[in-house]
Point group: C2
């Protein structure tokens, strides 16, 4: 029998407890040994549960119990999770976590500590909830050089954009609905401003390219500026607006990583990912594009990924899963990435006639049509293939105009 | 340094050789040791390659060389692959294969031999080419009970159906084009009659439900009877016709497995899987639907999956990956599975007036409209929710009519 502990009994933590206890048979089958939840750490009281006797409030109990070889950290946030995880690893306990904030901020350090102490630190659930992504990347795609990753990494924003596009709902109405349905938190900042997706693209980039990428190095733009009109124009041009986390290895050996609202072509499967679902497209030099799709959040899905990581930790108690990246340095990141491609542009001006005239002269060579919206005094179009810098230069030369520029992907 | 051998130097075999030799650095990084291809077994001569010195024609050389711990079997077919793989496993060599025919026919036996000899028998490449499916199912989804799997498992038929639907090409023209492009073989039987997809759903069913499912137990229907009109009617009803491999655990504990042309609702991501791509949707009781998508065939993609399995074999030289299923018995399969749902029906009769009249009286309660095609003397419709047996009973009572019935899925 193997004893384990769960730190945190929130949404995911209670899910982990339920899987390990209610589905003990399938866990035993996977591990080929009984797995016993000895402690659940939470400062709150949980009475009336079949496992209420397992709750403790003092982390030191877990730390000092040498019977505990594997710990799930499902508290979320950096403090005190970071301190607890670090001390567990230093004491020779493997840790499975769903905590993307922790992994994005401290991954390289914690992986190194795990390595030095011959234990495992696994975090499949931190990206894409219940969707298998990190393990398949590390194992099944190991004969590939991964060249880029693009993903819909946040279910909340995908739900909101979807409601805007399909139900013609404006941003704030869609956000309220998401909150009502429990898809968005009371304070939705981390989701709608792209911070949550940013943490996930950091983890994916580190997995793919071998060096830690810190969130503060990643260009992050949320969806708060996306209007119903943008969604409609995009639709007219054959695109769907999605919040895309993207990372790519450039020719100079550096990488670029970003989170931004992006126009995804209808031919790309990512454009069909609706509601709270997530999808990650990984491009390998041998496999081409591979997509992983499923529920990116939710109690059961995320908990099942944490439980699977715990199973893996137990099966590798005396060996290390090879999952490693170095600490990163900012030089690894291309700060002045000047993307080449087609861009969505929407220009607005109170002086609509002047706008039309300026558009005509500045974008005279433009091969595709623009949408003219006299009522909103704006023009929207997809640019011809060009460098972003060159388009921005043209745009910033326009008089009395505001503009919005979004990336596109096929 | 680890020595390995490759048996077969066809499309996939040459791809494996190229990855292991040309990309030796990334394989070494994954294994943390140099991997040397010592032998390549093929009866043909291959001169002028950088690795022409590695070719041998005698299997016994590999078998009797105790330096060889890991072997890739990429010959295809059952004989002599079965004999070679079995003898390798018995001699304590791990085997990685892309050979779906072998795994579908002999998987349970070979897995058992591998287990008894404390070696590994891995076959990620046998389903979905370069798409990670089997390993994520076994590992990441291990806390789930898998309830069903539906997949587009054959790129050739998906390409043909796609050409019919999108380019209005009839079946035989689309098949010729697929052959011209190298997507279909000269003798396309295994693809278009569904045998290839059948082998893959057998492997997926065995992985998911723990018992071998032999191809001869699986209801298998190809795409040769699908007409351009079917594709058009389906489109009108909001569906896309795909060749779907399906397996599901029923309430009586038995499983059903089938390969058949199926109408997939446009809301389902599988409907958007075009060209030679594959996608597998796995439903777990915790994760819900998870989809794996990518290139289901092709030299590089498939070879990279074989190479990744070889890496895994090397990393687990003295331990077993837990991948196991028992031998199957026919009692495990529900032979009289009577699906409940909506079905696509197309009825044809030389006596069109009588057809209309009979339809009106037999399907009087039908809630949705039918498509009447006087020119082709047929009627097509999506049935209301009902048991397949009950609909077939109604249909077989029609006088002077032929009918076609296809399953649907959302």
């Amino acid at each position: 029998m193997i004893n384990v502990a769960i730190m945190g009994h929130g949404v995911v933590g209670s899910g982990v407890a339920e899987i390990l206890i209610d589905h003990a048979d399938r866990i035993e089958k996977a591990v080929r040994e009984k797995v016993n939840v000895k402690y659940i750490l939470d400062l709150r009281d949980f009475e009336g549960l079949s496992y209420s006797d397992k709750f403790i409030k003092d982390f030191e109990v877990i730390l000092n119990d040498d019977d505990i070889k594997v710990v799930a950290e499902v508290m979320g946030g950096i403090n005190p999770a970071y301190d607890f995880v670090k001390r567990c690893l230093l004491r020779g306990k493997s840790v499975a976590t769903s905590n993307k904030e922790l992994v994005a901020a401290k991954g390289a350090e914690l992986i190194k500590i795990a390595q030095e102490n011959n234990v495992n630190f696994l975090f499949e659930a931190s990206v894409g909830g219940g969707i298998p992504i990190l393990r398949p990347m590390a194992q099944c795609l190991c004969a590939n050089e991964i060249t880029q990753i693009s993903g819909i990494l946040n279910g909340t924003t995908n739900y909101i954009l979807n409601k805007m596009i399909v139900d013609n709902m404006d941003f704030s109405t869609a956000l309220s609905l998401a909150q009502k349905k429990g898809y968005a938190e009371k304070d939705p900042t981390a989701d709608i401003e792209g911070h949550d997706a940013c943490r996930k693209i950091c983890i994916l980039a580190a997995m793919a390219f071998g060096k830690h990428v810190y969130p503060e190095w990643v260009y992050t733009e949320g969806i708060t500026d996306i209007t119903l009109d943008d969604a409609e124009y995009a639709d007219n041009f054959g695109y769907v607006i999605k919040l895309i986390g993207h990372t790519e290895k450039l020719e100079n050996g550096k990488i670029t990583a970003s989170v931004r609202p992006t126009l995804v072509g209808r031919n790309c499967l990512l454009s069909g990912v609706d509601g709270v679902f997530n999808a990650v497209m990984v491009t390998g030099d041998q496999t081409g594009d591979v997509i992983f799709y499923g529920k990116g959040a939710g109690k059961k899905a995320t908990a099942s990924a944490v439980a699977a990581d715990m199973v893996d930790c137990i099966k590798h108690l005396n060996s290390r899963k090879y999952l490693f990246w170095e600490d990163g340095d900012e030089l690894f990141i291309e700060k002045n990435y000047d993307k080449s491609g087609r861009f969505y542009v929407c220009i607005k001006s109170d002086d609509y006639d002047s706008l039309l005239e300026q558009y005509k002269s500045v974008f005279s060579s433009q091969k595709t049509d623009c949408i003219k919206n006299e009522y909103r005094r704006e023009i929207a179009f997809i640019t011809d293939c060009d460098r972003e810098s060159s388009i921005r230069k043209k745009l910033s030369g326009l008089r009395n105009c505001e503009y919005k520029l979004l990336h596109t992907m096929l």
